[in-house]
Symmetry: none
Subunit: 421 residues, 2 copies
């Protein structure tokens, strides 16, 4: 079943915003078994939108448009929809109630302009917006579907997943089942190599490797014939993958490493404290992105200066003087001191050279040490993470969290620790 | 002059790769004075490419296509070009020499397959590839231009800048000049309102408001007639904008608030320490994204638990017991203690309810206090940031950094402090 995505917005054409919505929708729709045959990006102009809608509906079964649903003058999608469907507007009571509730959450009242957004074409099914004001729209006519979603990603995504996708799935004639395994710690080429025979054995299953800074997601897709055959094929394939690289799999779906670590800490009833240097707060930021993290996250001391490593964490000045701030010895001390000063069960630390300046032959940009103290023992791990400052921080934070995951899951360390005491 | 971009590649449609090429080309072309009217993303299929080329050439003066120029079986752009132009191939001697030189650089010899890439349509001007093997192509027929570039960004970008853009610029009848001002602290609707009369006065200038979680970027674009008139018009318009909302402008171009704050701290020779609660490390993460931040960033204590607020920062237990962890009083204490325990000149703090759980009627989800201690005085600011956990964190971190910016720039507080001592 063919899908065309229409992305609406001048900001996408003049390059001020990268069209991540289309990529995200493409991934979701492909995973669900749809074929995305075209993405068309057009300006906020009524005639252009109407033309694109006409072209898309002619070539594809499903048209998904995003953007232009706000209330500023450049938000003209509703005008285009009215013209395209020759539609009449009426106020939708559920959407009107949602708008009132949205403003109540800010301690305010909506004005008449805000409430205008509840006026929608009579022939559409409104799609509620759980994260903003503008509702989406779903039209179904003569076996062709047209849907409108907001352009703001954090409004668009839950609307797609919660409300649009469930209406699209039943349209599929050849449904597929899909599963995504989230890995960390192995490059794509290594995964491909380790899974060579699995890919050969399960030739009916489509494999996709989706690399990102934090790891590679493995997506397996199988046709879903009536009955449960597709599901069991997928299960067997997953088992074969886990047999090869199970220790690198942190979970499935859209899970993040901070969620996995949070779940493991909760299960074990343990608390964690962090002492960050080169990652600058990113580890704490990621841990606290998980709702409920206050149960297991004690504190994070971002000791960026040597002075703060000594003053706040009582790292011996001698350790820094002898081995340097970026050293296995300092990483060990930081991890142990994080535990000690907070009373947490586990202590995690990073120290490294994020770059782009500050490197030397002996300690190049991208060199990062991670320390981990469990009470029973303390270990330090050494990494090289390239030369891009942001990527060094992201890869270091990921590696550090993965040390905690492996400890809590009783998995062997990867990489092996360089120092231990 | 209208441009259409055609992005070729299955990986762009199924979401495995985000189409950053189109955004980059859109920005470059817009800045040069072209109007990008459409981006069309299509699969690696000959018929789709031919159709898209035909549609684009009909509607636009210039067509820029990227992707599908390699030598793997899915690289079918050359086949499509041959069909579209009904072209004959001949070996281009310069490109053939480039291919020999490329392999010489690797200490190797090209094989016959590699040299096939030098066979190009007779009616094209070849575009040399300084970073890879596949050459680009430039076609000009009946006042319409069609260009092909490789899809790999680090091959595409220098080819565009060095070889394609210089051939496109002379086609422009009305070049433009553009400037982007980065604001924080005002919603788009308020900016639009404050700049009503500026927009009326400078009717020859195009205004674009680009909202993000952290603020709104204002882009102004003017025609650039011969001489310097366009530049001075833009300067006068910028001055008028600054007269209205200058205190909300943190800089121009692609500057971030953490860069502005870093520059101000460096200029004043001051150091900063942070005590974060609800933002969880995000402020430290942002500050340390700036290379050289170790000069002014002392430390960041993410005191997530009440225990750590008391143990690590010596916030009086009584303050928390009496007023709660999320209170102006605690924010004041956190900011003062951040200064005190680190010896930094300035102390910044956040405490709030990031949600989605943990709110009450009196202290709802999204309530955030920011504290700031300069030594001379300490202030606490109160905010409401909605109900999405990540957005609450992002908006709180932005608001906190903006308190520092306003202090260092001698600007009045916005919002006004709720508490002061």
């Amino acid at each position: 079943m063919n899908v065309e995505i229409i992305s609406i917005g001048d900001e996408l054409l003049n390059g001020q915003v990268v069209n991540t919505n289309a990529a995200w929708l493409g991934e979701q729709l492909t995973a669900a078994g749809f074929q995305v045959r075209r993405v068309t990006t057009i300006p906020d102009r009524v005639e252009e939108i109407v033309t694109a809608l006409r072209e898309a509906r002619e070539h594809s079964d499903v048209t998904v448009a995003t953007g232009g649903l706000g209330s500023t003058p450049d938000d003209v999608s509703l005008t285009a929809v009215v013209r395209f469907f020759n539609a009449h507007l009426r106020e939708d009571p559920v959407i009107a109630a949602d708008i009132h509730a949205f403003f109540a959450g800010l301690g305010k009242q909506p004005n008449a302009g805000h409430l205008l957004r509840a006026r929608l074409p009579e022939n559409c099914i409104p799609l509620r917006n759980t994260n903003g004001l503008a509702p989406g729209m779903f039209f179904s006519e003569k076996e062709k579907v047209v849907a409108f979603l907001p352009g703001v990603p954090h409004e668009m995504k839950p609307m797609f997943t919660g409300q649009l996708l469930p209406r699209l799935i039943p349209l599929l004639k050849t449904p597929v089942r899909t599963k995504t395994l989230v890995t960390t710690g192995l490059p794509e080429s290594r995964i491909d190599e380790y899974l060579k025979d699995v890919q050969d054995e399960f030739s009916g299953i489509r494999f996709a490797f989706l690399p990102a800074t934090t790891g590679v997601r493995i997506r397996i897709t199988s046709p879903a014939p009536p009955g449960n055959e597709g599901a069991s094929l997928l299960d067997r394939c997953e088992a074969a993958i886990r047999e090869r690289i199970g220790a690198f799999i942190i979970g499935s779906g859209t899970i993040t490493l901070e969620e996995t670590v949070g779940k493991l800490l909760t299960e074990r009833g343990l608390t964690l404290a962090v002492a960050e240097s080169c990652t600058g707060g990113l580890i704490g930021d990621r841990i606290t992105d998980v709702s409920g993290s206050s149960r297991y996250f004690q504190a994070d001391v971002v000791a960026y200066s040597n002075k703060s490593k000594i003053d706040l964490l009582q790292v011996p000045a001698e350790t820094i003087a002898t081995h340097g701030a970026v050293s296995g010895e300092t990483a060990l001390e930081l991890a142990e001191r994080a535990r000690a000063v907070t009373g947490a069960d586990l202590g995690l630390s990073t120290t490294g050279i994020a770059g782009p300046t500050g490197g030397s032959t002996e300690k190049p940009v991208g060199l990062v040490w991670v320390g981990f103290a469990s009470g029973a023992r303390t270990r330090a791990f050494r990494y090289r993470f390239g030369t891009d400052r942001r990527r060094v921080k992201e890869r270091a934070a990921q590696a550090a969290l993965d040390v905690v995951r492996r400890h809590l899951s009783d998995l062997p360390c990867h990489p092996r620790p360089e120092m231990e005491r």
